[in-house]
Symmetry: C2
Amino acid sequence: MKKVINNPEHVVEEMLEGIVYAHPEYIKKLENANVLVRRNSPVEGKVALVSGGGSGHEPAHGGFVGKGMLDAAVAGSIFTSPTPDQVYEAIKAVATDSGVLLIVKNYTGDVMNFEMAKEMAEMDGIKVDHVVVDDDVAVENSTWTIGRRGIAGTVFVHKIAGAKAESGSSLEEVKDVALKVIANVRSMGMALSPCTVPAAGKPNFTLGEKEMEIGMGIHGEPGTHREDLKSGDEIVEHLLNKVLDDMDLKNDEVAVMVNGLGSTPLMELYIANRKVHSMLKEKGIKVYKTFVGEYMTSIEMAGFSISLLKLDEELKSLLDAPADTPGFKII
Amino acid sequence: MKKVINNPEHVVEEMLEGIVYAHPEYIKKLENANVLVRRNSPVEGKVALVSGGGSGHEPAHGGFVGKGMLDAAVAGSIFTSPTPDQVYEAIKAVATDSGVLLIVKNYTGDVMNFEMAKEMAEMDGIKVDHVVVDDDVAVENSTWTIGRRGIAGTVFVHKIAGAKAESGSSLEEVKDVALKVIANVRSMGMALSPCTVPAAGKPNFTLGEKEMEIGMGIHGEPGTHREDLKSGDEIVEHLLNKVLDDMDLKNDEVAVMVNGLGSTPLMELYIANRKVHSMLKEKGIKVYKTFVGEYMTSIEMAGFSISLLKLDEELKSLLDAPADTPGFKII
C-alpha cells in the first residue's frame, strides 16, 4: 500500500483537520463528532440539508458543505456508515425551525443509521425528513444494498435541493424537489483498478492486467460483469446506453456528470465526455450543462461513472443557482 | 496500459473536443490549432494572457482559460512543447492593442518555442512580452531544463497576472506582477508512482514497491533521490523544509497549494495539508489562503507537490479577485 498517510487508523480524523485548515471560510468541524458544518450554521430561516456516509468518496460529502448545498456532512470511517449518534450530532448542530432534510445514499447501513438519527432528533422536537438516492442502474441489489446503490447522482440532489433550501422554501418543498431529482437521475460506472482501504492495507478486489469491471459500486461492490478492456468510446457506449435504457428521454434536456473515481486523469474523463456528447446529440437529447471531474470518488480507484439528470425548467433554474462550497462552485 | 482512451495518437484532439463540449460557456477551440481561447476573445482593452505547454497536466492549462485568468492555452502533444506556429496562432487569436503576455514554464523546448512565436507575432506588429516560471526548488538542472523547472506555482502566476490584466493594467504592469509572483513562489513534489504517456504505452520510470521519488519533475524527470516510503508527515516535513529553505519568510503571510499529480486522492492531499499548516503555524508563518486539489498534474502519477507563495497586500488582493474558469473559481 503506497499512500501519503500516517497511522491508517487516523486517516479520517487527519483528513477532516486538513479540510478545515484548507477551508476555514466555509466550514468548521464539530468538536464532538466527525461532522463538518457550515461555518455560520445554523442558518436560521432555511431548511438545513444533512448528508454524509462512509469516507473515501471525497470531495463527497464534506466538500459540498457551503452556501447553496449542504449544511452538514457526516464522515464515517472509510467505506463505513456513520453511526446514528454522529448523524444525530450533525442534525442538532444545523437544525432550524424550518426543519432538516437528510440526503442518504441507498446503502443498508446508511439508511438504517440516518433513520435512527432522525428518530433521535424528532424526540428532541426537531422536524426531520429524509430522502434516499438510488441512481445506479448497474445492479438491482448489491453487497451492501437492497435496491439500487446511490452514487454520483447524489451530487445533483445536493445541488438542487440545496438551491431550493437556500431560496427559503419549506421542508416539504425541498423534499419534493429532492425526490424529483432522484426520480430523474441515473448513473453507471466502470473500474480499471480497485482501491485500497488504508486499514485493510490491500486492494478490495483484483482485476487482470487487461480486465475492467463494468457497473461496480463505489466501494468496489461487484458490478454486472468483467471483460477485456475496450476503447473509451466502446465503454461509454455501453454505460450510457444502460443509463438511457432506464430513462424516458425524447428531445429532452439533461445535465451530464462524468465523474472520476480517484485516479483517472481529467484527460480521460474529457475523452469520455466527448463520446457522451456525440451520442446524446445523435439521439436528439440536448445537454444543458456538463460537469467533468471528481465528485464522488472511491479513494484511488481508476474508472469513472456517467450520470444523466433529466431537466425541466425548475431543475434548470435550481441547477444554475449560485453555489459556493470547496468542491462545487456555480457562479 | 489501462486507460479510457481510443487511438493513443488522438488523445489530445479528443480531449480538447471533450473540454469544449463540457465548457462551451467558457471556451472555444481554434479551428486551425490545438488552442483553447476565451469564448469572447479577443477581450478588447485588456492585456491577453497566453500559456500552455505539453498536454498531460490537466486542468493546466486549458482549464484555466476564462475570466480573471488566461485568454488562451496552447496544448502540445503529451509532455511535448507546442510548436511555435501553434503558440503564434494563440497569440493572434487573443491579441488586443493592450498587448499579450506569455506565461511559460521553464523547459528548454517551451521557452524556445514561445520565444519564436513571440518574434513571429512581433513581426505582425503585436506587442508581446513573456515571463518564465521556475518555482521547483528540487534540482538545479534537469532532463528538459536548464535552470529550475516550472511546476504548480505557475497556477498562481496565471491567477494573479490574470486578475491584474482583468483590472485594465498595462502590459508592463501585468508583467511586473507576474515577475513578483515568480520571485515569491516556490514548490517541490514527490511521486509514489510513475505515469504512462499513451503513445509510449509503458510507465516513464519505475519505482520499487515501497519506494518513493523525492523532487521528480511533472514529466517524470529524476528528482533529488529515492528512498523507502515514509509517513505522510515525514514526507511533508522534507518537502516543506526544502521549500522554506529557499524563501525568506519571517512572520509573513503565504498562500499554500497542495497539488495532486493525478491519482492521489483528496483524502491524502488533505492529510498532507494538515501537516503543512501545523508546520507553518509552528514557524509563525500565517496562511492567508489554501488550495488543495489537482491543478498541475502528471497524467495519472501518484504523488503531490507543495507550493508556497509569499504574499504582500497587492498579491493578496489579486489572489482574492474573482476568477471564473472551468478549473479554478474564486467567488
